[in-house]
């Protein structure tokens, strides 16, 4: 395994490592958009079975990192291994092994819950013989069996998110990637999503990578956190380790401010705001 150039990362690999390789490992992962460097030589290692949280202010490079790890965006330089395969050279192999829940509520509103799942099953090449059973299991697991025949546009935000997790786990990925999975959800819906993620990790040894702005989510759900700032990985560690590194009695908010050089940003950029509004509108 290549060693990281960033000394802050030395604490990562401790958690639940099975064997000598990682579920996700990035090597100087970099992405530029014209003059702007969105992700700058990021080195991350995420152990098998970990729940790993990526934190950082808007524009820190979290979403760009997620896009590269899910093969949606090719890196400008550097690369990453996800689920044992290189995201650039073996993107199809990576795609077979990951599940993805995008930031915006993206299940197709003009289809039913069942039809959304069926489409996923077909695109992932799940054999017809087991398709129905897997879909019904996923619906039951996410508590959606009674709404399976309803159009998704009549679902609540929490139900859509649960459906999306069901879609993402249908093919039993070894890595599950979620971009701000609980943004805009009420506390109960958020709790449900957390519980399901923990169970998926338990039942299938899935590795979970998520981005979040919610400090509570980072603190209670994630075993390891990385804080990104200006495209760089500013710090990595367990929540408690990060708090200790900042000072006695520090909260995760303090850690966040310390490493990203400011307060939690409230406003976000125009695009974020537009997306959040649209999501809010869809949810009524």
């Amino acid at each position: 395994m290549a060693t990281s150039e960033n000394p802050a990362i030395s604490t990562v690999s401790a958690e639940e490592s099975s064997g000598d390789s990682y579920a996700i490992e990035t090597f100087n992962l970099t992405r530029r958009f014209g003059e702007m460097t969105a992700v700058d030589h990021a080195n991350l290692r995420i152990s098998h079975g970990a729940i790993f949280g990526l934190l950082g202010p808007n524009g820190a490079g979290k979403s760009t990192t997620i896009k590269m790890l899910t093969t949606l965006l090719p890196p400008t330089s550097g690369t990453a291994n996800v689920a044992g395969y290189d995201v650039v050279k073996s993107s199809t192999q990576v795609r077979r092994r990951i599940g993805y829940v995008p930031q915006i509520l993206s299940a197709d509103g003009s289809l039913t819950g069942y039809e959304n799942l069926k489409l996923s099953a077909q695109l992932y090449g799940i054999a017809r013989a087991v398709r129905k059973q897997l879909i019904e299991e996923a619906l039951r697991f996410m508590g959606l069996q009674d709404s399976a025949r309803k159009l998704v546009k009549f679902y609540s935000g929490g139900m859509i998110r649960r459906l999306e997790v069901a879609q993402a786990m249908l093919h039993r990925p070894s890595v599950l990637v979620l971009d701000e999975p609980t943004v805009g959800l009420d506390p109960i819906a958020r709790q449900t999503v957390w519980e399901r993620l923990l169970e998926l990790r338990q039942d299938f040894q899935m590795t979970v990578l998520l981005t979040t702005h919610a400090m509570e989510e980072a603190d209670t759900l994630c075993g390891t956190l990385a804080i990104m700032h200006l495209g760089k990985v500013a710090a990595v560690g367990k929540p408690q380790e990060l708090k200790d590194s900042v000072g006695d009695g520090a909260t995760l908010n303090d850690v966040f401010s310390y490493y990203s050089g400011g307060q939690l940003q409230e406003q976000g950029d125009y695009r974020d705001v537009r997306q959040i509004r649209r999501t809010a509108k869809r949810l009524g």
């Binding site: 896009k67 949606l72 965006l73 990951i98 003009s110 069926k118 897997l134 039951r140 169970e199």
Partner: protein, 274 residues
Amino acid sequence: MTSVKSGAQPNVLAEPPVLWSFFQQTAAIAEVELKKIFRDPTEVLARAVQPVLWLVVFGVVFSRVQGIPTGNVSYLAFMAPGILAQSVLFAAIFYGIAIVWERDLGIVHKLLVSPAHRASFVFGKAISAGFRGATQAVVIYLAVLALGVQVHWAPLSLLGVLFGVMLGSAIFATFSLIIACLVKSRERFMGIGQLMTMPMFFASNAIYPLEIMPRWLQILATVNPLTYLVDALRGLMIVQAETLHSPLVNFTILGVVFLGLSWIAAALYPSLVH
């Protein structure tokens, strides 16, 4: 709560034959699109109004003008396939807007993270555009029947028209997809879509023959796929119509155009989410 552990295994890591999985994925995308049309046919039905107006108002009035050479057939018979091709163009050219919408909703992201072939997204959409186009053909046939235009009713002719309409829809929908991938915003897309439809319609043999066009317009019409669609439909649909090429030549040209556009669209599709 329940645990999801069970005997069923998805086994997606086994690699199925490429062509078979490509076919299945294309069918899955097309099926979803067709479901949406059946659930809300408002748009498809509304699109049928305009071609009927063209035939019943424009066509009937211009039939009284004797200045346009249309060979052995009446002006109404000459323009009917042109209006069918036009309605195919108009129905398909705004198809890309749905892609921009799906991109903003994150649906495109989710499709692209799946291991499905990129081209299956393009082909699936093209097939569903083909079925939407087919509804236009039904409306046009009803209109020409009411207007007393002599059309071929032989099954092979009808099948040929259906094939042409679906291929034409697929071409313009894929073209629309390419524009969507390039502009990535609904506002710009609407502007460009509006900008293209009328010039493509007028720079074709839809409502007047090539021979009365000025030279520069003839050249434009010759590189316009709509011309070949109109020509194919005219030959297959109208009794005693004169055409530029045989249906086979027209369909070959259109087929090549479709494959070329699909190739470009499949290459551009991933850039939607960059």
